[in-house]
Amino acid sequence: MEIPQLHPDAAAGVQAYRAKKELLAPLGLPPELPPDWREKALCKFKELLQQRRSLSLYMDICVRCGACTDKCPFFLGTGDPKNMPVARAELMRKVYRHHFTAAGGVSGRWAAGEELTDTVLKEWFTYFYQCSECRRCAVFCPFGVDTAEITMAAREIMASIGVAPKYVTEVIKKAHETGNNIGIPEAAWIDSCQFLEEELKAQTGLDIKIPVNQAGAEVLLVPPSADVFVNTDTMMGYARFFYAAGISWTTSTYASEAANFGMFLNYDQLKKVNLRMLDAARQLGVKRLVMGECGHAWRAAQAFMDTLNGPLDFLAPPCPEHICELAARYIRTGRLKLNKSANDGLTVTYHDPCNLARAGGLLEEPREILRAVVNDFREMPANTIREKTFCCGAGAGLLTDELMPTRMNGAKPRMEAFRTTGATHLAVPCAICKAQFPVAFKHHKIEAQVVGVMDLLGRALVL
């Protein structure tokens, strides 16, 4: 896509709502900005520099070569130079240089350092919440500098002084209270699953179950709770698959959420939210843990779960497994009967959610499924898929209405790539993408629908 001209401060006015004390206190964060917030923030900064090589190295080594400057969807969509990955990271580096390097102390502004002030903090809260931690920039960096890790560190520092978005903290609070981000209590979860069983019965005439809290099941499936609330076709897709594969499975009302918004706030919450599904797996005595169609859930589970809350030796490997891996394995070994023509009339293309593709290595399995269940499957341009995929524009805690201008701008590169395919359906295994794309389609005047990968598999299964 075309690289925009620079429009300084074009996105400066788009900011998330700040969390207030009723959301901050339950997460163990200061209920308001402490009077000595600068010292506290710098102290946290120093702690993170000592705890994370990535941060310490990435503060030092960037040469500002500019390779990343035209890679970020939020820059491409807004033209705001502070949305260029290097410039975003420089918001943090300038504070690092001022407070933590010899050069910053000796030569002041020649070293391009800046003191941590109210203005800088405001800038951080704006621009580190306009980064979806999608890591596209890192793919093109000669040193592998991962802006997502810089964003995570900046957010962790802000959280430590009570500066956090309402959206992210509210979601984490609900996950602790009810087991899921939407806040669906146990009774409602059971009722919704029964409702979907009735729907499946009406569609197929079969008694396809969506079990809840079933001890001794082989598989604990942890879906994003949005699959019960809005993306119900995906939920029914899982059910059809498990039915056809003959695998006993269950959902849990203690861990009814795959997503881990802790990753968007701090290490502490990342770990706590992550622990819930292991506790649920232990309680229910399942043998395997399978993750549903959620992008960052996969990252948090696949890459971090064993480190954070392991060992996972009480579960069978691969642990955790993604539903697309499991389904692709069953397709590959010929254990599913499929009728591709059930999806005829649909022209399907596939969006790689950044956390599945770039952070989770899940590139082939969703495609394997789609090729097996759809006759007309086509790819978007090569520089916009797989590890070079463009973020939907709403990841990492950006999926909230007050950030809508940034979300719609951030979706622009993906929308343009989609347009080139002429597809009618965009298949995507991620709840955040699924919520973002219909709005983005409307905004960018595209007539198309969003579907889950498991929705399409479910339709093609001969039961």
Binding site: D60, R64, A112, T307
Partner: protein, 268 residues
């Protein structure tokens, strides 16, 4: 300006000042780099965060690192018009480094290894050195122009980005000047270098450009550990996104600082 430089170099040449400056600069360089690298290595990597699709086995990691270090592969994916000058510049810098090593530090070994006589060796050094020097200058100018003309890159550029380019430009320009003006007595230079690194410093060649060249190199050596130039320490080698195997499900990855804290959460 020229008069000033001449004055400084006269002072410099009249004593052992140049040798001493180089000792100090080299000590700061080695100490600084050692300290930086030690700090990077010492800092733990709490979570396994690899750029995927990443290699699952060690040979794959090696290939990735070699590709990044010697081929600038990520940069090639990002922007060919940046990769070309950046790669050619770094290659010419490497060749210049090897040339200085062969021509000044171990001239006899280099000469016999290559099977050349003294005249041939010097001619070769003259031709190759000049060509590589010109290539380096061209690439530096390209990078400088790019930094000034491309609005995105200009926007992110700081004083230190220009300073680094200009410093390198001056070092290589003075180096080339010695070749093209033919003023440098190569034998004297070799003697100076031999004396320097065997800790028996002798007087440098009586060439003001040589003094300027060497002092600029001293400035660069001192500058490197405290600036973005620290990346010559092999940034990609230490980068956790590049130097790890992507196998968190195959092999349990342990966060050392959590283990040390008795598995309690360290942050609140």
């Amino acid at each position: 300006m020229t008069v000033g430089l001449l004055f400084i170099s006269c002072v410099a040449m009249s004593t052992l000042f140049l040798s001493m400056a180089l000792y100090v600069a080299m000590a700061i360089f080695l100490g600084g780099m050692g300290w930086r690298i030690y700090r990077w290595i010492r800092t733990p990597v709490p979570l396994k965060i690899v750029l995927t699709p990443g290699p699952q086995k060690f040979p794959g990691v090696l290939r990735r690192l070699v590709g990044e270090l010697f081929g600038f592969r990520a940069l090639a994916k990002a922007d060919r018009s940046l990769w070309t000058p950046a790669w050619l510049f770094h290659v010419s810098l490497l060749l210049l480094f090897l040339g200085h090593l062969g021509g000044l530090v171990i001239p006899h070994l280099a000469q016999t290894t290559l099977g050349l006589n003294e005249k041939q060796f010097e001619d070769m050094a003259q031709v190759v050195g000049s060509a590589v020097g010109l290539l380096a200058i061209t690439m530096l100018v390209w990078l400088l122009i790019r930094r000034l003309l491309l609005p995105r890159v200009r926007w992110i550029s700081t004083f230190s980005d220009y300073f680094a380019l200009v410093l390198l430009l001056l070092i290589i320009a003075t180096g080339n000047a010695m070749r093209f003006m033919g003023g440098l007595n190569i034998i004297q230079a070799q003697r100076f270098v031999a004396g320097w690194w065997t800790l028996h410093p002798v007087a440098p060649p009586r060439d003001p450009i040589f003094a300027v060249h060497l002092l600029l190199v001293c400035a660069l050596l001192i500058y490197i550990p405290f600036s973005k130039m620290v990346h010559i320490g092999g940034a990609a080698l230490f980068s956790p996104t590049l130097n790890q195997r992507n196998n968190p499900r195959q092999q349990r990855y342990v966060n050392t600082w959590e283990k040390n804290n008795g598995n309690s959460t360290a942050s609140s």
